[in-house]
Amino acid sequence: MTSEAAPVEAHDTHDVRPIRKAAMWVFLGSEAMFFGSMIATFLLYRNTTADGPGAEIFNIPFTSASSFVLLMSSLTMVLAHNAFEKRDARATRIWLLATALLGITFLAGQIFEFTEFVHEGLKVSTSSFGSAFYMLTGFHGAHVAIGVTMLLAMFFLSLDGRLYEDRGLNVELIGLYWHFVDIVWIIIFTVVYLLQV
Amino acid sequence: MVFVIVQTAIIYVIIRFRARKGDDTEPVQSHGNTKLEILWTIIPVVILASIGYPIVKGIFDIRAIADGPDVLQVQVTGHQWWWEFEYIDLTDETGRTLVTANELVIPEDVEVNLTMTSADVIHSFWVPILAGKRDVVPNRVSNMTLIADSATPPDAPHPGQCAEYCGLAHADIRLKVHVRTQADFDAWVDGQLTPAAIPTTETEASGYETFNITCAACHNATVAEDGGTTDLGPVRAIEVDGVTFISSLAPNLTNFGERTTFGAGTFDNTAEHLAEWLADPSSIKPMRPELNDIPEGRILGMPNFNLSSDEISNLIALLEGWD
């Protein structure tokens, strides 16, 4: 909010961070509904496998490992944000890169997993279970990919020494987004892989 | 009534408090009145609650599924764009059930339980004079109860119409409900279960040949033969939630001659209309037969078989003779 002391300078350019953060939170609220609907769909079709493969083809140890990788990336993201706040550009850069690499590792794992499942006969068109599974995890993967792109963009900006310029993109916003995507994964991992009633 | 009160209030207010020429005083600047607010929140709540109870009760009454020995059980399969009816408890001595299409015949004063599903997209069964509508959904079973009693207007057949948009010919998926006395109904059932014999006259026999070559690829019909019966056309069924529904590719034409309409209740069953239909079905009812895929069970209308005028008139003679 503007203070009365500077009525003219208003909020157009000055402290836009809280505004951006507010918008990011609203956006994440919207995303939550998006993933919520897909998770609900998956729950509806969890057992609708139409004689095709079902939850038994999941490789829980493998996915646990890749989930751990994604969780670790949240940690490195916190470290990146921490360094950013301390204006330590070098550390920020390193942790951003680490986060991006962990994200890429997770995506590689997901691609490997999808390939395996297709070999075992689970495709989008196999059953309602297959459709719901690929859509949910696929859209999550797309979110990770977008996050990785933003992290790398930020990393290259920091090489130019432009980490602290006031731009549409900044470490804090990416951090919010990244943590959200991680939390969604924890829910997906629990609901899709672990909960098998 | 609520409408009258509110409109009266609006009209009163805009006349009573309109700005008059030469009156420059400003109104009193009231900001509101909490007591009034509470009052006009509570009054509607009370009104709505008082109508709410009977409504909830009504829902449960309507949704109860009719069952018991006196109830006539009919299974309904919705198709793009026609209705299929199977009277599952009415069979001949061989166990063949009574199957008909687009014209439902029911006895008066008897509860009829419709058990319904759809072979393709969502339809909705609606005969306004007899009952509200009920959606007919693929992969789901739905039920509704019809009863034609003394309160029902006598001018049957009652027109019905699919009420859920089901694609191209949604306007032309209609039906008729005939209400009969119990005696007439029993006679009708007997007639349905004893089909016509294979024809012997030249025109009808020629029509029968065409029927076998062309029509029977999709249409079913039963004919009497050597003291038994023969079923023509492919037999298909679908199972939904443990209930087996007949799901033919096209309307069953047994005893077609006694129906009042064809084309899913759209055209009067006259030789003239039939000739038009057989010459080019899509010209009088919108359909897309070029997309049919019989092995897949996808039928989007009757194709134009380029029948000659002789073939058409012979077929008509055959069909109108089936009653």
Partner: protein, 627 residues
């Protein structure tokens, strides 16, 4: 002072086509939304007139079944998503910042992006008419009809077009919410905001939470159609689509109506010369409607077979929505009560809104009576009901807003005589068209049927409805002509033609680019009124002497502001939003024409990335060295 180029130049407002394409000014974007929506309104209106012509006689032959199905699908889709929502967006864009004393919305470029994405998506949707046929599975797109063969049911344009419109709306809504929560002028507490802005906030939240659900449904439809998915067909359950659709679709109804309610909540006080009766109750009833709107989606599905418990629950919840709606109506009447009601054009349309909305609302309560809905559902009774709500309610409200605020947009008044023609013809035509549909529906006429048989007694009322629809059409020609003519010939309005109450009337008409020379400090609801009027002992308003209309800031348009110009840093024009939006719609076209379209998807992605990166990296203001 009046609007013209001179003024535009003087206030630093650039002119020319390029300036409109790259504009990030919320007022210009608002006008763009409004103008686009009006054009699309005529398109959708034309579609409706063709439908009515077809139904004039039994077994009508003017349209084929295929054409009819395309037209009714597109009529619904266009009117709801492409006309009424953008009209609401037009008002929100223009007035949220003015109402809360801000210089612009929170994200001016994202705002431009929303508009261009909306516009391109609509162009894409409408282009389907020329590219082999428009969507014909209904605007509600019920599966599995909507997932049948592309050669039979053309819904790819729908699945993609509606998705893109949704993204545009989510962006815009997030923007409005951020604006309202972080950019209010000093003293502008939430409970001092104009009701219109309050309703805009409620609507934005509704969209933020409901559109993604619809988005998932659309993706699922797209998967089913193109990748062999089994969400609704195959082993899937067709009712899943209905749940997802109506979880969006019902809040959507309030999205369409609440802004109109907000508009009339501004108009009634102004022309009764009294404060809004029960301001907090009007606000909270709006919020309550928004909340409850999420709990009643299944009342669109009574006939689908949800089981009696669910049906009863949703029926009761639906009835209860009538309560906060009633509170609003009583408060509007309370506002006029004891006031001095002036029959200006905005006021006439606002009164029309309330009267017609009451009819629509009551027939809505009839639907919540579930057993009777078994009859009315998908009959013309429903068509009548929602046209009373959305046209009688929505459109009357928005037209009222247009008459009310046109002077602020252009600096000139709309012509009174043309406006009277518009009002009376619209009122007459509207009732002639839609009142008979109640009767038709109760007599068993089903919706979405391109023809009906003779001999059922439906001919007469169908003819009346057709005549009525053409009268509506004519009334809007008066409106369009009025908008065009008054732009040049209208009476000069001045800053405050209506003796208004809210902040937008304190500045010049049209407002300068930066809106407020000095950000106002707010002390009341309807702050501007209290700068003009005090109350005497009896509680009557008394004009404060020596204060003319808009002294606060506006009289000094050009003189004083140059001094501030340096400090104000209005956001610079940018073409990246247009580029990004274009890239996304390019991808959309590709997705419609899979699998060959993957190439276009790739190209579109590159264009979008160019736009997004350019956007992220470009400085926000003209002054790059700043901060």
């Amino acid at each position: 002072m009046v609007v013209d180029t001179e003024k535009d130049l003087a206030s630093g407002n650039p002119t020319g086509l390029w300036s409109w394409i790259t504009t990030v000014d919320h007022k210009r974007i608002g006008l763009l939304y409004g103008a686009s929506a009006l054009i699309f309104f005529f398109v959708a209106g034309l579609e409706a007139l063709l439908l009515r012509l077809q139904l004039t006689t039994p077994n009508g032959t003017i349209l084929s079944a295929d054409a009819y199905n395309q037209l009714f699908t597109m009529h619904g889709l266009t009117m709801l998503l492409v006309v009424v929502m953008p009209v609401a967006a037009a008002f929100m864009n223009y007035f949220i910042p003015l109402h809360i004393g801000a210089r612009d919305v929170a994200f001016p470029r994202a705002n431009a992006f929303s508009y261009w994405l909306f516009l391109f998506s609509v162009v894409m949707l409408l282009s389907s008419f020329l590219l082999g046929g428009a969507p014909d599975g209904g605007w509600f797109g019920y599966a599995p009809l909507s997932t049948q063969l592309e050669e039979f049911v053309r819904m790819d344009y729908y699945a993609i077009g509606a998705q893109l419109l949704g993204i545009a709306s989510i962006t815009a809504s997030a923007n409005f919410i951020a604006t309202v929560f972080t950019m209010r002028a000093p003293g502008m507490t939430l409970m001092r905001m104009p009701v219109f802005t309050w309703m805009a906030v409620v609507v934005s939240f509704l969209l933020i939470f409901s559109l993604p659900i619809f988005g998932v449904g659309l993706f699922q439809m797209f998967f089913d159609r193109n990748f062999g998915g089994q969400f609704f067909g195959g082993t899937g359950d067709p009712l899943l689509w209905q749940h997802l659709f109506w979880l969006f679709g019902h809040p959507e109804v309030y999205v369409l109506v609440l802004p109109a309610m907000g508009i009339v909540s501004e108009i009634f006080p102004t022309f009764s010369r009294k404060p809004l009766f029960g301001y907090p109750f009007v606000v909270f009833s709006g919020i309550a409607i928004g909340f409850m709107g999420f709990g009643v989606w299944a009342h669109h599905m009574y006939t689908a077979g949800l089981g009696p418990v669910a049906e009863a629950g949703f029926g009761v919840a639906t009835m209860m929505i009538a309560v906060p709606t009633g509170v609003k109506i009583f408060n509007w009447i309370g506002t006029m009560w004891g006031g001095k009601v002036k029959f200006t054009l905005p006021m006439m349309f606002a009164i029309g809104f309330v009267s017609l909305f009451v009819i629509g609302g009551l027939s809505g309560v009839l639907h919540s009576v579930v057993p009777s809905d078994y009859q009315q559902h998908d009959s013309y009774f429903v068509v009548a009901h929602f046209h009373y709500v959305l046209f009688g309610g929505g459109v009357f409200g928005y037209v009222a807003g247009a008459y009310y605020w046109y002077p602020k947009w252009t600096g000139r008044m709309l012509d009174e005589k043309l406006g009277q023609w518009h009002f009376w013809l619209m009122l007459l035509g509207f009732n002639l068209t839609f009142a008979p549909m109640h009767i038709l529906g109760l007599n068993g006429m089903a919706r979405r049927t391109y023809r009906y048989p003779e001999g059922l007694g439906w001919e007469f009322w169908n003819q009346v409805a057709t005549v009525g629809s053409f009268i509506i059409g004519i009334s809007f020609l008066f409106f369009a002509w009025n908008l065009i003519k008054s732009r040049k010939d209208g009476r000069v309005a001045g800053n405050d033609p209506w003796d208004g109450r809210t902040l937008e009337w304190s500045i010049s008409s049209p407002p300068p680019v930066h809106n407020f020379d000095e950000i106002p400090v707010v002390q009341h609801v309807d702050d501007f009124w209290y700068r003009k009027y005090a109350t005497d002992d009896e509680g009557r308003a008394v004009r404060i002497p020596d204060v003319t209309g808009g002294t606060i800031a506006a009289e000094t348009d050009t003189g004083g502001e140059d001094a501030h110009e340096e400090d104000m840093h209005m956001p610079s024009p940018s073409y990246y939003p247009v580029v990004s939006a274009f890239g996304i719609v390019f991808m959309g076209y590709g997705l419609v024409y899979l699998p060959g379209g993957w190439v276009a998807v790739g190209i579109g992605t590159l264009i979008t990335m160019w736009g997004v990166f350019g956007w992220s990296l470009e400085p926000v203001t003209r002054d790059a060295d700043h901060d």
